[in-house]
């Protein structure tokens, strides 16, 4: 493949992904709120096609086109799904943190619904990435699990967000749930760097772990195409989950006048058997 081709591929995949994110945000406003009559099918189909197409291309690049790695051989190719999944998990959880802060500054059901969907989708991608990492660990390190700082921190992160989701399930009053889960979301996110440093010290006081990586540019290209494809997938997942979350909120907040104003108002407390 010529250099021009590679540049074109990079630019095209990035453009497709960013357009999809933009479209996703737009659909989130137009299509996701309950009662919307907007026909999103063509756009959704287009985004799905873009995601699947880029994924197919990325997997072709990753599985066939890129050279095998010097030490790990073909085993390393799992990186093309593992790393994008982890990136998307972090992205989703960062958005979740922003939503939590945003909700405490100005309460809105939309922020709460987005927080719920980002946490859940982030957890999904994180769990998927962690399993892939464990599968990768077996042939390279010889075990599925190693107390490597990255792995440990990731596992702790996932448990933290499982607790966040559990809290959301356990609180019935939607308004309290939104406030409390925002507080927990902020604390959980702030904890991530602390966990990272502590686990790193915990390990590094025993042995120094260093993995200097010099990556082939072709591998970077394949990784990027896969990451952009996964970003479209993330947008789609988030969009659908956000729509469900908004519908659930509306079902919970039984008073019909509560939703259009989009500010949590007073309501009856026994209205949430849905969650």
């Amino acid at each position: 493949m010529s250099d021009v081709m590679k540049t074109v591929l990079q630019v095209l995949s990035a453009a497709a992904a960013l357009t999809s994110v933009f479209l996703g945000a737009w659909l989130g406003r137009k299509w996701a709120p309950p009662g919307s009559r907007y026909n999103a099918r063509p756009v959704l189909l287009g985004m799905t096609a873009a995601a699947l197409g880029l994924l197919a291309l990325g997997n072709y690049l990753g599985l066939v086109w890129t050279p095998p790695e010097r030490e790990m051989g073909d085993v390393y190719r799992i990186i093309y799904v593992h790393v994008p999944a982890m990136w998307m998990a972090m992205l989703a959880l960062t958005v979740n943190f922003a939503c939590c802060v945003g909700y405490l500054l100005q309460s809105s059901w939309k922020t709460d619904a987005l927080a719920e969907s980002t946490a859940e989708v982030g957890l999904l991608f994180g769990g998927y990435g962690l399993v892939l990492g464990a599968i990768w660990g077996k042939p390279t390190w010889g075990t599925y699990w190693d107390w490597d700082p990255r792995l440990t921190a990731m596992a702790i992160m996932l448990v933290t967000y499982v607790a966040y989701m559990a809290l959301r399930r356990f609180v019935e009053d939607p308004e309290k749930r939104a406030v409390w889960s925002s507080v927990v979301g902020i604390i959980s996110f702030v904890n991530l760097p602390i966990v990272w440093f502590s686990v790193k010290w915990w390990r590094s006081l025993h042995q120094v772990q260093s993995t200097p990586k010099t990556v082939d540019p072709d591998m970077t290209l394949a990784l990027r195409v896969n990451a952009w494809a996964t970003l479209i997938l993330l947008t789609l997942f988030l969009l659908h989950r956000y729509r469900i979350a908004l519908a659930t909120r509306e079902a919970e907040v039984a008073l019909p006048e509560a939703l259009p104003t989009d500010v949590p108002g007073p309501r009856d407390n026994h209205a949430s058997e849905v969650a």
């Binding site: 933290t160 607790a163 559990a166 609180v171 406030v179 904890n191 966990v195 440093f197 915990w202």
Partner: protein
């Protein structure tokens, strides 16, 4: 919420803390239960690991902190259940007491309780596991103080949340345990170093981590707690 000057905030904290300690002293139910729970936990570790005193002594720091952490779940859960019975938390807020003062007093009260528990567990540990405190009482007291404060700040915020939720007994440890891992790690490591000596001078970095953890969570709790108990 009334925003008092720092002096009046501290005064409120003092009054509330005195109130909590008085309740604690008059019933002594929580403290007694905690002591025996923690003792039983320490005893169970020796059965789970076996009678090899060398292994027990080497892991004593970890066992101490696990016992304290398990006990802290009981202590933290109780600290807001006391307020719920007669809706006294609402009364406090109508008094009006600054919500931040409520946080500080509750967190300080829980930290004090845990520190007391830690101090009581040390002689037991010396007897059961055959450890000796190599670096003296000063660093040990510092470790226990920092570790207990690290547990109590996020623990107070989470117990205020969990005490109002469904399945609160499950929710508090579920929320607290993953969060507390850095503090547990640092406190257990620091305790092991204090007990066995610190030839590589690592104690400082673990203390640093504990202090940082404390600063962050006491600060976050101070900022966020008013939102947790608002209605």
């Amino acid at each position: 919420m009334r925003r008092g000057r720092p002096i009046s905030l501290l005064k409120t904290v003092g009054v509330l803390l005195a109130k909590d300690l008085l309740i604690e002293w008059r019933t002594r139910a929580r403290l007694n239960a905690l002591i025996f729970f923690a003792l039983a936990t320490l005893l169970l570790f020796s059965f789970a690991v076996g009678p090899d005193t060398k292994v027990l002594a080497r892991n004593a720091g970890g066992y101490l902190w696990l016992a304290l952490l398990f006990a802290s779940v009981l202590a933290l859960g109780e600290s807001f259940r006391v307020e719920q019975e007669n809706l006294t938390l609402d009364g406090l807020r109508l008094a009006p007491a600054d919500a931040r003062a409520i946080f500080l007093s509750k967190a300080l009260g829980n930290a004090l309780l845990l520190m007391l528990l830690g101090a009581l567990l040390i002689p037991v540990m010396v007897a059961l596991y055959g450890v000796d405190v190599a670096m003296g009482v000063g660093p040990f007291a510092a470790t226990v103080t920092l570790g207990c404060m690290a547990i109590s700040a996020p623990g107070t915020v989470y117990s205020a949340i969990a005490s109002n939720a469904r399945a609160r007994d499950v929710l508090l440890p579920l929320l607290l345990f993953p969060l507390i891992i850095p503090a547990l790690l640092a406190a257990a490591k620091a305790t092991s170093l204090v007990l066995q000596g610190d030839p590589m001078n690592q104690l400082g970095s673990w203390f640093g981590l504990l202090i940082g953890f404390n600063l962050i969570y006491w600060g976050l709790g101070f900022l966020l707690f008013p939102r947790v108990i608002e209605d």
